[in-house]
């Protein structure tokens, strides 16, 4: 009985210690991004989505907490709703459970499980550097937007200078049948198939 109790105590102490360490790491990550101010930047947007033909565009964007970003530029402007530099704070501000997954080199990976039924995201795998807590990769499963992953590149600054976002996208051929008669220049997958879209954002912070 005594031996069993000793093992049980040891086991729970390991679990609790691990959880506390998890909490500390995530707390530091949260602190870093919760202090993030509104971001003003120029972004060079490159969209590579099947069925969308749009040239690269330079746009001016102001990300403000809890608000729709202010986008300015010439002509029609597209900015992805997910995977932009401002969204770390949004992700980390909600209520979630963090689980340590693995460590590779200087980076660690945690799985976040949302505990907020109102939030759009369900789970998120985030990779970040142990040294300065820069998030370098996220894979987010969301209710509205499917799975989208983003890779972030940093220079010496705290904010990413580049992000490459890939996501599920339903192909855009459906409405075309109603108004566009010239079809068939390119072969597309079947209507209900989901393909992957890729967007590259290069940031210059102002």
């Amino acid at each position: 009985m005594r031996t069993q109790l000793t093992f049980a105590l040891l086991f729970f102490s390991f679990v609790l210690t691990g959880q506390t360490q998890n909490d500390l790491v995530i707390q530091k990550l949260r602190e870093k991004y919760s202090g993030q101010k509104d971001i003003k930047c120029q972004i060079l947007v490159k969209v590579e989505v099947e069925g969308i033909h749009i040239p690269e565009k330079k746009i001016y964007v102001e990300f403000q907490k809890g608000k729709k970003p202010v986008i300015k530029g010439e002509g029609l402007l597209l900015l992805p709703k997910k995977g932009t530099a401002d969204q770390f704070a949004e992700l980390l501000s909600s209520n979630f459970q963090a689980i340590f997954l693995q460590k590779k080199g200087a980076a660690v990976c945690y799985k976040l499980v949302s505990l907020d039924p109102a939030s759009d995201w369900i789970t998120a795998d985030i990779w970040f550097t142990e040294k300065n807590y820069n998030i370098i990769e996220t894979i987010v499963n969301s209710k509205k937007h499917g799975t989208f992953s983003a890779l972030y590149t940093y220079s010496d600054k705290e904010m990413p200078i580049k992000s490459v976002i890939t996501f599920d996208v339903k192909k855009f051929k459906l409405p075309l049948k109603f108004i566009g008669r010239e079809q068939g220049l390119t072969e597309y997958p079947e209507n209900d198939k989901v393909s992957r879209g890729k967007i590259t954002l290069n940031y210059i912070y102002l």
Partner: protein, 278 residues
């Protein structure tokens, strides 16, 4: 020859029907402008729903350039019908008024007579298309302003504002060739039946049939598409594709030029062999 052409143009622009057709075309453009002024944002909001799920979209979406592009969709049926209402009359009015006999007794080569009428027809098509192009563009720009154009061809094309006018002019130039080809066909029917109404009805019938076959691409008809003139008419749309497929457009132009030559040759032969007593 020059005098003959001027006489044909004088007759053409003296006719009320010419001005009526211009008025209808301008009215069509005004209706398109008004319709989109009211519901344009809602319509494009719906069409761009798949994109707006993943992207924030900013900018003047329903702008003058977009409206002028949409107005070009009248090239499918409306504009060809309006054009042949006038161009068939150039040829068959002589029969209907009985002036053909006087005309053929004049010491003028028949080839010259019909050539003058063909030149008048081409002049009308050019002037009409320029009026259509300007009436589609200018009021729309005043009402809706400038901006990039979203085109639903082969996916979604975002045509950049600086390149739009060049593409628009090329599409109009291409459409002039298409409309001359269609008018040439109508001209042949006008000479053959010597009646404006018959020529118009037959031409419209062929236009509708060809458009229907092209629109409803059933397996049986799909191989026929390259032989349909409306299939080639529709290539004006390709000037609004990100990378213009030059080869496809050149093929369409060749088809239309051959069509023009074919019907002009038939019409000249018919006109030359025509008996004065017919």
């Amino acid at each position: 020859m020059k005098t003959l052409i001027l006489i044909e143009l004088y007759k053409l622009f003296k006719s009320n029907r010419t001005y009526l057709v211009f008025a209808i075309a301008i009215l069509l453009m005004i209706i398109i402008d008004l319709g989109l002024y009211k519901d344009g944002d809602e319509l494009f909001g719906y069409l761009l729903q798949p994109i707006s799920e993943n992207f924030f979209i900013e900018g003047n979406m329903v702008n003058g350039y977009l409206i002028s592009y949409l107005a070009l969709n009248t090239l499918w049926v409306h504009i060809p019908i309006l054009i042949i209402i006038v161009t068939t009359h150039i040829f068959s009015s002589e029969f209907e008024l009985g002036t053909i006999k006087t005309l053929l007794t004049q010491p003028i080569e028949r080839t010259e007579l019909i050539a003058a009428k063909i030149v008048a027809m081409i002049c009308f098509v050019i002037i009409f298309m320029l009026v259509v192009a300007l009436s589609a563009l200018l009021p729309a720009l005043v009402l809706f302003g400038f901006g990039d154009v979203i085109v639903f061809i082969d996916g979604i094309q975002f045509i950049q504002q600086p390149t739009y006018l060049g593409r628009y002019m090329l599409a109009i130039f291409f459409s002039i060739i298409s409309m001359v080809a269609f008018s040439s066909m109508a001209m042949f029917f006008a000479l053959y039946f010597r009646n404006t109404l018959s020529a118009i009805l037959i031409s419209i019938g062929i236009l509708i049939l060809s458009t229907l076959i092209q629109t409803f691409i059933f397996g049986f008809f799909s191989d026929w598409q390259p032989f349909l003139f409306t299939y080639h008419f529709a290539k004006w749309q390709l000037f609004f594709v990100d990378t213009i497929p030059v080869k496809t457009i050149v093929n369409a132009v060749i088809f239309l030029l051959v069509m023009i030559l074919f019907f002009v040759a038939l019409s000249v032969m018919r006109f030359k062999k025509m008996q004065i007593t017919e």
